[in-house]
């Protein structure tokens, strides 16, 4: 069974149904891309996994259905680190305190060496460890967000538009590091992206969402070669 198995997922904002009941799965140790236009339901899917929107259907993580569980419990129990769109930086505390918060569900003594782990991937953060996090640049905040997620020692990372608002060169670096984290740490990742090329390049499988449903799914390289997808989402 897949590490994360979604069956018939529906999600609601008040009366409005945003996801119309689709299936999606994430295999252990793999990166899966979730693509689609604005409003397709990509972010909502991630939020549903973390229990942040009202949802129906089943979301099974490590064999347990998490629909109806509180966000805090899902994060702590199943080690799911959600890197939200816009980073979710705690702006008024220092950068290192942000990392500390990433490990808030873990024992104090175990986390000391994990700071070094984060700085190994993001050396730039080390120079700014005591800086107030709100004063970091967009790229640094995105790295901090991934670093904060790493502090959980996650099994699954949910990344919501990690490239959003970043310069192309920084985006490329970030995706290179994400690939490295995936290989070195065996973290499974679900990556929501508008920048389909980058996401597909590091992914094994991909899903294409369209207005709350899965329009297409398959291995990432096939999706990348599909003519219709290329025209609609990749722009060439």
């Amino acid at each position: 069974m897949a590490l994360l198995e979604i069956k018939g997922l529906k999600a609601y904002y008040g009366q409005i149904e945003a996801l119309h009941g689709f299936d999606l799965s994430l295999e252990e140790g793999e990166i899966t891309a979730v693509l689609g236009a604005n409003g397709a339901g990509k972010t909502t899917t991630l939020r549903a996994i973390c229990g942040m929107v009202k949802s129906a259907g089943s979301i099974t993580v490590e064999g347990e259905n998490v629909v109806g569980m509180s966000t805090e419990a899902i994060v702590a129990k199943h080690k799911i680190a959600h890197v939200p769109e816009g980073c979710g930086t705690f702006v008024r505390v220092s950068q290192e305190e942000n990392l500390r918060l990433g490990a808030v569900t873990r024992r104090y003594r175990e986390i000391e060496k994990d700071y070094e782990r984060v700085y190994h991937y993001f050396p730039r953060l080390k120079e700014r460890r005591n800086q107030q996090a709100g004063t970091l640049s967009g790229g640094e905040q995105q790295m901090l967000a991934v670093g904060r997620a790493l502090m959980l020692r996650p099994k699954i990372m949910l990344l919501d538009e990690p490239s959003f608002g970043l310069a192309p060169i920084i985006t490329e670096e970030l995706f290179r590091i994400l690939g490295q984290i995936n290989r070195d740490e065996g973290v499974s990742m679900l990556v929501v992206e508008q920048n389909a090329n980058l996401a597909l390049a590091i992914s094994k499988n991909a899903y294409l969402l369209e207005t709350g449903n899965v329009a297409m799914t398959g291995p990432a390289d096939q999706i990348m070669d599909d003519e219709q997808v290329r025209k609609s989402y990749l722009g060439y």
């Binding site: 942040m52 994060v75 702590a76 939200p84 979710g88 705690f90 505390v93 500390r100 918060l101 808030v104």
Partner: protein, 292 residues
Amino acid sequence: MDLFIEQTVSGLATGAIYACLALAVVMIYQAIDHFNFAQGEMAMFSTYIAWYLMDDAGLGLPFWVAFVVCIVISFIGGAAIERIVFAPISDAPVLSHIIVFIALFSMFNSLAGFLFDFTPKNFETPFGHTPFIEGVISSHRVGMIAVTLVMLGMIYAFFRFTPIGLAMRAAAAAPESARLVGVRVGFMLALGWGLAASVGAVAGMLIAPITFLTPDMMLGTLLYGFAGAVVGGLTSPLGAVIGGFMVGILENWMGTFVVGSQLKLTVALVLIIVVLLVKPAGLLGRVVVKRV
């Protein structure tokens, strides 16, 4: 000149109380974005609990034992109010919160009168009322300042250096992000209310030996506390503390040299209005920009 020094020093002492209340108000404001109008009445009720614990007609405990027990009870009470009353309406509009604050205000006020009657009571002080420096400050007022400073130092250390203090700050500043890293936000809010209630209880127990214990003892004091919070900036706990001390001193100066003691309370209100007009963020507060 002597009068000036005396008024300044005694302003510092009452300022300590305003600082406590301002801090309690700001702690809750940071978490739920509203003024807790009932903060003063909660503090007053806590003080009655302390009185009951100490009084011979009650349990007859020594002052410091009653002091600690009262803080613990207030903490539990504050946390319970958050869980029972505010957690269910956390998504409700501002007005609902305000109505609940007013309800709490009048409930605590009447309950205190009903349980302990309205006649002013003497409240014991462990510091005595002897002069500490002749003609300048009494021993109780020195005690007030000392206890306040110790408590404020402890709260600062708690928020600054402990993991749970960090989690509380995160929960108040960015609840959604906090939830995503696994902070139990509801639990943290309850802790915050408990802490605020405890801080208020200390303020009540320190001011009661001066004002006497009555159900209305906190009305004026809370206004000064609000003024302190507004002056310092509602988003800054440190600002609230500094603001509280400033208001205490200003109150005495104005009362003694300018407007007379009859109009003293007006000073607090004028101060609130002036600060809100001229520098709404207060001394140390941030300008908060809300997207609409």
